[in-house]
Every structure is written in structure tokens, then in C-alpha cells.
């Protein structure tokens, strides 16, 4: 289509890479926030096109990956209830909870359905008045307007058998959390283009200023990502830390005010648990009390479910080995990422010598 193919132009991509190569003088660590951006980087091999000075760290922006173990367990508990039709985006079906996943429940007879849009659940609810239709409302700010609209319309149209299990997460608190970590190495961000389509980018300005990091709101096509990288490197090389917009064809500084208004009517900001990270203050949305009739957590009384997250949480890179004393292993990777498991028993004196955490394998020993 028009203005899509242009952003995949190979010759232009090479020009941008050459320009990055021309201006870069030292190594920089950049994080692309969105899973969608990670997907493009891996799909088009952009990480291998870029000069070696640039290290891309994959960010937390995949809603499937960051949904807490506890929330998956709640979803599984609800989906097993009689008379429930449990609706979800397809990519949540295989995400494991403590014991099983939604697909396993479906194979055992639970009515688990994949929907394209939360608003489709309203049709399912209208067509099945004797059933309780629950939608697994995961996602970042991009998805919040859709979920807010589904609740708003259910409330307005008197669809009482529709509820949502809210597991919404917000990008700025997650970025701040990364930047506050003593282990942080990220020096610049490719900001989340579609989150900012909804929210605008005002709220990133204090982050750039406080933590002295450039944040370039970036799109998802290969040209977008390369240009976003170029803009970030330009700032880093010039010692700047500003918010810039690489993606003005859909992102404005104020975002979509109509969508923000409805999101704020339906949701309020609250603490949220992130998978493998634990609770981050004010990092998610929860339903406002006015909509408690559509709050699945309350209706099915799963609020008591309190699954503990593993304690080690840190950024892992290609070639890292993660060594954990106990518990479950992380089996969800960012899109495009791969994870291999290796059990290590290599300590002379167990208590004194064994260390847990993340280790980088020396390149000469890394699998080719």
C-alpha cells in the first residue's frame, strides 16, 4: 500500500546505516521499547546491519511477556469456571501459569476463544446470555482504548454478562524502573510509537530530562527503526537528552485525546505486577469502581490468588547464561529472542563458590 512499502526501501536503509556509521565515534547501548520493534529488527536483520558500536537491548514492551504469573493463574482459574466463555488474544493461550495454560484448559473442554478485538466479545455476550463472557484485557497503552471501549459499551448497552480481567501495563514507569536499576546500561531509547499514538509523548519529556537519556519516539518499519537509531545516536554523540518524534505520520505530542478521555473514564492508574520483575508502583491500569460490575477479578473472586514471581530480574543479552538457585525458569522470550536452558553444576564448595545471576559466555565458547 501507499506509504508503507516506502518504509521498507532497501537502498534508503543502507543510506541511513552509512550515515550512522559516519557519525558514530564510540559504543552506545540503545533499547527499543516495543516488542513490535524487536520483531522488525530481527525480521529484517537490522541489528546485523548496524555498526558494531551499537548494541540494541530488547525492551519490556511485549504485553504477553510481561503479564505476571499471578495474572495468568487468575485467568486459568476463571476459564475453568462453569458457564464461562473466556476470550483472549491468541498469543496468550500458550503462556504458562504455575501449572498449565489456556490451551491446555481448552483441550480439556473449557470454552476458551480467540478474538481479534475486545469489542467482538460484546457480540459473543449478546449471543450467549446464559454465559459469563470474560475478556483477558492485557496490553500497554495502545490496547487500553479498545478495552475501555468494550467496557464502556457493555455498560452503556446493559450487557451484564461481560467482564474483563484487567492486566494493563504502562510504559513510562517501566522505563523509569529500568533507568533506576544500578545494573542499567541503556543510554538511549527508541520510544514506543504506537503507545504514543494514543498517549502522545509529553510524559516522556521528564524521563529524558531526569535520567539524561535521549528518547526518540520511533515507528515499526525498518526505515523507521533505522532513522530512530540515527536520531538517537546523533543526540548521544552531541551530548543531548531530548524527546524527539521520528514517527510524526501518526504520533503527535498530545496523542489521541478522544481515546485518552475514555481510557481515563474507565480506568485509573494503579500498581501492577510484571512477570519476572514484581510490582512496579503506578505502572498499570485497573477498572474504576463505577465499572466494578464488569471487573472479572471481583466477580470471580480471584483476588486472593497471589503467585510469587521469581526473585532474579535483570536484563539479559545474547550469549548470557542465567543461573538460578530454584523455582521456575523463564520460558517466555521477547519476540525474536531465543532461550536455551543449561543446567550448571560447577562448584567445588557449594555454599562459598556458587553464584546465581546472569553471566555472559565468552564469545569463543558461544555456539555458532
Amino acid at each position: 500500500m501507499k506509504y508503507l512499502d516506502e518504509y521498507r526501501d532497501e537502498a534508503l536503509a543502507r543510506k541511513i546505516v552509512e550515515e550512522i556509521r559516519r557519525i558514530i565515534t564510540k559504543p552506545w547501548v540503545l533499547m527499543e521499547v516495543c516488542g513490535g520493534q524487536t520483531h522488525s529488527i530481527v525480521k529484517y536483520g537490522l541489528d546485523r546491519l548496524l555498526p558494531n558500536e551499537i548494541e540494541l537491548v530488547h525492551g519490556p514492551g511485549c504485553p504477553v511477556c510481561v503479564t505476571s504469573l499471578e495474572m495468568i493463574d487468575k485467568a486459568l482459574a476463571i476459564a475453568q469456571e462453569p458457564d464461562v466463555i473466556f476470550c483472549s488474544f491468541g498469543d496468550m493461550l500458550r503462556v504458562p501459569g504455575s501449572r498449565n495454560d489456556l490451551l491446555i484448559l481448552k483441550s480439556r473442554g473449557a470454552d476458551v476463544r480467540v478474538v481479534y478485538s475486545p469489542i467482538d466479545c460484546l457480540k459473543i455476550a449478546r449471543a450467549n446470555p446464559a454465559k459469563k463472557v470474560v475478556f483477558f484485557a492485557i496490553g500497554f497503552e495502545t490496547t487500553a482504548p479498545g478495552n475501555a471501549m468494550a467496557v464502556w459499551q457493555a455498560n452503556r448497552q446493559g450487557i451484564k454478562n461481560f467482564s474483563i480481567l484487567v492486566s494493563h501495563v504502562l510504559v513510562p514507569p517501566a522505563m523509569a524502573s529500568i533507568l533506576q536499576s544500578p545494573l542499567n546500561r541503556v543510554q538511549g531509547f527508541l520510544g514506543p510509537g504506537h503507545v504514543c499514538t494514543v498517549m502522545g509523548y509529553r510524559e516522556y519529556e521528564p524521563i529524558a530530562e531526569r535520567y539524561k537519556v535521549p528518547i526518540v519516539i520511533t515507528g515499526f518499519e525498518p526505515i523507521d527503526i533505522l532513522e530512530g537509531t540515527l536520531m538517537t545516536v546523533r543526540q548521544l554523540e552531541a551530548g543531548k537528552a531530548e524527546v524527539e518524534n521520528q514517527y510524526p505520520r501518526v504520533v503527535s505530542r498530545d496523542g489521541n485525546r478522544v481515546a485518552q478521555d475514555l481510557v481515563n473514564k474507565v480506568f485509573e492508574v494503579g500498581d501492577r505486577k510484571w512477570r519476572g520483575v514484581g510490582s512496579i508502583p503506578k505502572s498499570g491500569y485497573k477498572l474504576r469502581y463505577e465499572f466494578h460490575e464488569h471487573d472479572a477479578e471481583r466477580l470471580f473472586d480471584v483476588r486472593e490468588i497471589d503467585t510469587k514471581e521469581p526473585e532474579i530480574a535483570t536484563i539479559v543479552r545474547e550469549g548470557d547464561v542465567v543461573l538460578m538457585p530454584q523455582g521456575y525458569h523463564p520460558n517466555v522470550a521477547a519476540p525474536g529472542g531465543s532461550i536455551n536452558f543449561l543446567w550448571m553444576m560447577a562448584a567445588n564448595r557449594e555454599r562459598e563458590d556458587r553464584k546465581y545471576g546472569v553471566f555472559n559466555v565468552q564469545p569463543e565458547f558461544a555456539p555458532k
Binding site: 555498526p51 488474544f89 482504548p145
Partner: protein, 117 residues
């Protein structure tokens, strides 16, 4: 579900419950789209759609401007001017970037495009 994709609006309507809806064409696949968040869009516009909701009109002028600005960079960075060798002759630019080929670029395989400087 993470992605939002641009589609061309081919129909707008209001459903039985008073919700503004439409149909968008995504490269041949036509899907229903809720237009409540984009009251300004009309049939023929490009919209950015996420989980069945149009979140933004894709500004065609802005898209074109961005693209042109990127194209202009070719001249700005003077990348098209060949380097000069010791004997004064122009060195033809290589078709590979530091030995990296582009085999996984949009699924195209083999040698990089001849358009590449």
C-alpha cells in the same frame, strides 16, 4: 496483538447500537474497524488500526514529507559522491556493507540490489 497496522478506510457506518464503525482494507484483507476514537476520518483515509480500533489517521502529507526528508539525506550526506583514490580516479562504492549481505531483507535473497551505492 502488539502491532498496529495502517489500512485504507473503504466504508463508514453506524451500527445498531450507535457505535461508529467502518471497514478497512489491509492490503487485500478487509476487516471491521471501530471509528469512535477517530471522529475526523472519512472513507478513503488511511487509519492506524490496533485490535479493531482506529487509533489515528495516517497523515499522508506527513508520511510523504518524512519520506522525502529521508531521501534528501542522500544529498545532504553526499553519499552518492564517490571517494577519490590516490591516482585521482573515483572509487566505485561497494555493493556490500562491511561484508554484511541483506539476505533476510524483506525475504529477498541473493546479492543486494544494484541500486545500492
Amino acid at each position: 496483538m502488539c502491532l498496529a497496522i495502517p489500512g485504507k478506510l473503504i466504508e463508514t457506518s453506524t451500527d445498531a447500537n450507535g457505535v461508529r464503525m467502518g471497514k478497512a482494507n489491509f492490503g487485500g484483507i478487509v476487516k471491521q474497524v471501530c471509528l469512535e476514537y477517530t471522529p475526523e476520518v472519512e472513507k478513503g483515509d488511511y487509519v492506524l488500526v490496533h485490535v479493531g480500533f482506529a487509533l489515528s489517521k495516517v497523515d499522508e502529507a506527513e508520511a510523504a514529507r518524512t519520506y522525502q526528508a529521508l531521501e534528501r539525506m542522500e544529498q545532504l550526506t553526499e553519499l552518492d559522491i564517490p571517494d577519490v583514490a590516490d591516482d585521482g580516479a573515483a572509487i566505485e562504492a561497494s555493493v556490500s556493507i562491511n561484508g554484511k549481505d541483506l539476505t533476510d531483507w524483506t525475504g529477498r535473497t541473493g546479492a543486494p540490489s544494484s541500486r545500492v551505492a
